[in-house]
């Protein structure tokens, strides 16, 4: 394309100015301040308008800068040709961008044209105003370090929708950056780092938990070993307890046997006494009838002797007849003799009654060891009561639980309180029965311990009850025997007393009152009659009656009878002597009394021995005692067993304590490792999230990288030809044949000097300007492959030396053959294109 003409109505210093442009090189030599730059700016403004800015400085605010100094219609028109068609642009500006006017006409027909809009510059050149300034318009403004902008880049890369594309690129990078910042931030932040940290912490925790689990397992093994040891100790304790129980049984058995042995000893003693007593009857008979007969003979002898001696004596006979001469005397004497016999039998029976000292001792032993509570409960009632207590406690606690649950679940406050109160009361009742049951059991245990039975806390109450029952049965048995014996003795005593009283009644008939006074007075303090005295009186009156009978008979006898009587005395005397000779009575005053006593003693002993033998036999049968059973237990055996039991108890307690401690430790560890599973799951989850985050980050980074690479790729497509073009112009304008240059995507030129790539900043102003001019032309060649634009050069060689300036002008001449150049300068030396 080419400029044809322009008319400046009013633009900066220019007013009513017309310019005609020719093909090729257009040189405008004007002094400073005559509007060269303003013309260049006007041409640009026609195509691109004036930029909208709020900047206040003139350098930055072209609208302000070029507002006509003298007022007038701010703007003008420009005619140009493109693709064989001519157009006329009319633009008028104002201080307000919104008030601007634009019009496009077909220059040939004069009609308005809609071929281009207000953005005619972008449409024609394909770059924005800035890009235009960096390529086609070399003004007096300072040149930026980089010649390119996104518009140039886009145009060179050949993309459509440049601004949109680049806008999306910038936005894309921002989006990716924004998302990347979530995953990764400076200073060890971001999701990836956080996940890494969390996973690391979690792994450390998991590792610690694993160690704890290993420790827990080791402790579990130790607990298992301890449990085995505890179990073994328990078994051993049970064995020792059984041994102790057997020993206790053995002891009890030994006591029973000992008791039986004592019974047998007692029997032996009685038998020995019997033997001693019986030895009295070694040569003689112990028959009472024989004794009575012999004694009768002895009395008869005495009487006959008395009769012989006192045959003439009536006095005695009369005296006796006075007492015993009554008809009922015989019957009374018989009755009295019967009573005497009855008393005799009762006394024998009474002597045989009674309980052994061992039994009494045993009963006292059991009495003192039986605890008070147990006494209250006969037989099995204790066990029943204990079970009742226990059942009651359970029931009360169940009711307590139900009440408490009801209290928790009740919707109403009042009901809740009522249930709570009920629960408290029921709980108290349950506690009472529990304590009572425990106390009862403890009492049992104490009782058994006192008896020497080893009691463990785990012993069955049933077994304890059985032991107690046995002891109780034993006590009851002994006590029963004692009571029965005492009862019998009382009965016998009463019988004897009744007999004595009956005898006394008879005696009182035959003896004077003064002789029987004091024997028995029912109104006195004495509870019973003087038995010995009554027996003695009974003997006396029987004897006297016998004497009376004999004397009566003897009194009636004659002289012939005396020799008969003497003969009888002699005969009877022999018989009595014969009888008495069998007994070791010696010179006893009353041999027959002595014999009678011995007979009675013998009979008593026989009964006693029989009774004791029966008792001992029953005892042996009831307790299955055998002859060779031992009657004692070795104390060493018991001591050794106790010592072993105590030692085992200590071992058991220690093992239990150790096991409990280990279990507590294990439980504490288990609590610490309770979250192990969830930690492992969490670690897995976080690891998966981490991998995903890392992958996302990698994708984002790679995407960013490849987007930049794509942009650079697009740019670098044109860099090679651009570089060639630049070198061509460097040679053409600057005469630089050997320079080695590089060009990057930001169109920064670098020259290799002294082994280093140096930017234009390293060179003089003139060389910088040379780089700039060469690059602009290179850009124009690259940007405009079809339709070449015009180029406005506002004193481009102002910093060049003369030689370079000459080269530059020559180059411009060559270039102008294909590109319309508007060359503006203020100095002739720089306008010499010759």
């Amino acid at each position: 394309m080419k400029l044809i003409s322009c008319h400046i109505e009013a633009f900066g210093v220019l007013r009513g100015t017309d310019c005609i442009f020719s093909d090729g090189l257009n040189v405008l030599l004007k002094n400073n301040g005559e509007g060269k730059t303003t013309l260049a700016s006007f041409i640009k403004a026609m195509f691109y308008g004036l930029p909208k800015t709020r900047a206040q400085s003139l350098e930055e605010n072209e609208r302000k800068k070029y507002t006509p100094w003298d007022g007038g219609n701010f703007g003008g028109n420009l005619t140009f040709e493109i693709s064989g068609r001519r157009y006329r642009i009319e633009r008028f500006f104002s201080s307000k961008p919104g008030d601007e006017r634009f019009a496009l006409y077909d220059a040939d027909t004069g009609r308005p044209s809609s071929d281009y809009s207000e953005d005619i510059g972008e449409s024609i050149f394909g770059i924005d105003a800035e890009g235009f300034e960096r390529t086609c318009l070399l003004s007096e403004k300072p040149h930026p370090a980089s010649c390119t902008n996104s518009g140039i880049t886009a145009k060179m890369s050949g993309t459509n929708d440049v601004s949109e594309e680049l806008g999306s690129y910038e936005n894309a990078l921002k989006l990716i950056d924004k998302e990347r910042a979530v995953y990764e931030k400076r200073g060890k932040k971001g999701l990836v780092y956080e996940l890494e940290e969390n996973i690391s912490d979690l792994r450390i925790r998991i590792e610690d938990e694993r160690k704890l689990i290993a420790e827990e397992n080791a402790i579990e093994s130790e607990i298992a070993e301890k449990a085995i040891a505890v179990s073994a100790s328990c078994e051993r304790r049970k064995e020792l307890s059984e041994q102790m129980q057997k020993l206790f049984e053995k002891k009890k058995r030994a006591e029973i046997v000992k008791y039986h042995r004592a019974q047998l000893s007692d029997i032996a003693l009685e038998e020995s006494r019997f033997s001693e007593c019986d030895s009295f009857f070694r040569r003689g008979s112990c028959d009472k009838a024989e004794l009575d007969s012999a004694e009768g003979k002895y009395r008869k002898i005495k009487i006959l002797d008395d009769v012989i001696k006192n045959s003439a004596s009536h006095e005695r006979t009369e005296k006796l007849a006075a007492v015993y001469g009554v008809p009922e005397a015989g019957a009374d004497m018989e009755e009295l003799a019967g009573i005497k016999e009855a008393i005799y039998r009762s006394e024998i029976e009474d002597a045989g009654e009674g309980v052994s000292d061992e039994d009494i001792k045993r009963m006292h032993e059991l009495e003192t060891s039986l605890p008070g509570d147990i006494r209250k409960y006969p037989d099995d009632s204790f066990g029943r009561t204990f079970k009742k207590y226990r059942a009651s406690a359970v029931i009360f606690f169940i009711l307590t639980f139900i009440s408490a649950a009801a209290a928790l679940l009740s919707p109403m406050t009042g009901l809740r309180l009522a249930f709570a109160a009920a629960a408290l009361i029921l709980c108290a009742c349950g506690a009472f029965f529990t304590i009572s049951a425990i106390r009862m059991k403890k009492t049992f245990a104490d009782y058994l311990k006192r008896l020497g039975f080893p009691v463990n806390s785990s012993d069955d109450l049933g077994a304890l009850l059985e032991i107690m029952k046995k002891s109780q049965d034993e006590y009851i048995d002994i006590r029963g025997r004692i009571e029965r014996s005492e009862s019998k003795k009382l009965r016998l005593a009463k019988e004897i007393d009744d007999s004595i009283l009956a005898a006394l009644n008879i005696i009182n008939k035959y003896l004077p009152e003064e002789e029987t006074a004091g024997v028995y007075d029912p109104y006195s303090d004495a509870p019973a009659p003087d038995r010995a005295r009554v027996k003695s009186l009974a003997d006396r009156i029987i004897s006297e009656y016998t004497e009376y009978r004999l004397l009566s008979d003897a009194y009636r006898s004659t002289e012939e009878d005396i020799s008969v009587k003497k003969g009888e005395i002699s005969r009877l005397g022999k018989e009595v002597s014969e009888y008495l000779s069998h007994y070791p009575v010696g010179d006893a005053e009353d041999p027959f009394g002595a014999i009678r006593e011995k007979i009675q003693q013998r009979e008593i002993l026989i009964n006693l021995i029989i009774r004791k033998k029966e008792t001992a036999k029953k005892f042996a049968e009831d307790n299955c005692i055998s002859e060779d059973e031992p009657a004692s237990v070795s104390p060493e055996e018991e001591n050794a067993l106790r010592a072993e039991t105590d030692a085992e108890e200590r071992i058991y307690a220690r093992l239990l304590q150790e096991k409990t401690a280990l279990e507590k430790k294990r439980d504490a560890i288990a609590l610490s490792t309770a979250s192990y599973d969830s930690d492992c799951s969490e670690e897995e989850r976080l690891s998966a999230e981490y991998e995903k985050a890392k992958e996302r980050l990698t994708v984002l980074k790679e995407t960013y990288k490849y987007l930049c690479a794509a942009k650079d790729g697009m740019s670098s497509r044109y860099l090679k030809p651009l570089k060639s073009s630049f070198e061509k112009y460097m040679l053409m304008i600057g005469g630089d044949k050997d320079g080695k240059y590089t060009l990057d995507t930001s169109l920064t030129v670098r020259r290799e000097d002294a082994g280093e790539l140096r930017t234009s900043e390293n060179y003089s102003r003139g060389t910088k300007d040379l780089f700039d001019i060469a690059l602009r032309f290179a850009l124009i060649d690259a940007l405009y492959t079809k339709e070449m634009p015009f180029v406005i050069l506002d004193d481009p060689f102002i910093t060049f030396d003369a030689e370079r300036c000459r080269s530059g002008l020559q180059a411009l001449s060559k270039i102008s053959s294909r590109i319309q150049i508007l060359y503006l300068t203020c100095h002739e030396s720089r306008a010499n294109f010759g």
Partner: protein
């Protein structure tokens, strides 16, 4: 004679299917009960022996309580002989427990043989090169050898070529968690029963144990499915779906035949359009209640017509060509392209 062959129970192992703590605990209990169930089946079917070819426990961190439970279970079935070989995941903690049941037979580090009637059970805990050279088995017996490791016809821990001709009727193996059978020679077969209960989604499919039937002529065997729950990884191609509902319906159809008691991982595959709203969390929430455990692995990719970018002069085209021309893995390339295109479109990056 009947014999049950199992291995790789990995009792007390962490569950690799991501379950909540309660279900993790439940699954661990199910694994333990699985062992009991196998023992019970053996008892009910009149089996004389149970072979455990290694990895009964998961690690040396297996709790002593679990080991004791297993010991008690073995003791409970005192009419069955349990033959146990260590696996690579185990220490000798179980063998060292006090009071092990009498019907548990443990093997040593060298060949150890037990016998029940005409059947010999030979095994060893440690594998060594050339170990088969010292193995001598009677020809007239039915010989079962028990090992734990990787077996192959060639250079492997258990070289089946070396096992050939050793009168092995049945090589009871453990190590691989999927059922398979390999021929040793004309006489014998090497069998992996697989794990009887899957623990993670790398152990999908039917699991169980192997039931052997020993006759005077040979040993035959069958695989018996026996797992409380099966794990499934179900692919679901969502290509062509344009809405979330379509994806959900397609997924639902793919999962129609899966029992409720099972664990399911649905893997979304294929491509989806950029405008399709794909809400993985909503899909998981919809499906979760249908199964014991449900999760989604999203392997689907946004649809990108790479061909269309071949001659695209825009930045997008340049970008696509740059990525395709790189030596990155294809899957990564796809993701980068999807991300870049979404970003260039000003949308939330999807890949």
């Amino acid at each position: 004679m009947k014999i049950v062959h199992t291995a790789d129970l990995h009792l007390d192992s962490p569950m690799t299917a991501r379950l909540d703590p309660q279900k993790t605990k439940q699954r661990r209990e199910e694994l333990l009960m699985n062992f009991r169930g196998i023992s019970e089946r053996a008892h009910l079917s009149g089996a004389s022996a149970v072979i455990i070819a290694g990895d009964l426990f998961d690690s040396e961190l297996t709790s002593v309580r679990t080991m004791r439970k297993v010991s008690d279970m073995i003791r409970e079935f005192s009419d069955i002989a349990f033959f146990y070989v260590h696996g690579n995941h185990e220490s000798d903690s179980f063998s060292s427990l006090p009071d092990l049941p009498e019907n548990l037979y443990i093997f040593g580090d060298d060949w150890t043989t037990y016998r029940i009637g005409p059947v010999t059970f030979t095994g060893r805990n440690t594998l060594a090169p050339g170990m088969f050279s010292s193995l001598s088995l009677p020809e007239d017996c039915r010989n079962i050898v028990i090992l734990h490791g990787a077996a192959a016809r060639g250079d492997a821990e258990i070289d089946l070529r070396a096992a050939a001709g050793k009168n092995i009727d049945y090589l009871a193996l453990g190590h691989y968690h999927t059922y398979s059978a390999l021929e040793i020679d004309r006489r014998g077969t090497a069998v992996y029963p697989g794990t009887p209960e899957g623990r993670g989604f790398d152990e999908c499919g039917t699991k169980g144990y192997v039931l052997l039937n020993v006759s005077p002529e040979n040993i035959s065997f069958d695989f018996v499915p026996f797992a409380a729950r099966t794990l499934h990884t179900i692919p679901c191609d969502i290509s062509g779906c344009r809405t979330h509902s379509e994806i959900r319906d397609r997924l639902s159809a793919a999962l129609a035949d899966i029992p409720r008691s099972d664990l399911v991982r649905a893997e979304l595959t294929g491509t989806y359009f950029r405008e399709t709203h794909k809400n993985i969390r909503a899909l998981e929430d919809d499906m979760r209640g249908r199964f014991y455990c449900f999760e989604i692995k999203d392997s689907s990719r946004p649809y990108i017509d790479l061909e269309s970018y071949r001659s695209d002069l825009s930045l997008r085209g340049e970008f696509v060509r740059e990525v395709m021309g790189s030596d990155l893995p294809d899957e990564l390339k796809e993701k980068i392209i999807a991300c870049g295109i979404s970003a260039l479109a000003g949308e939330e990056t999807e890949f």
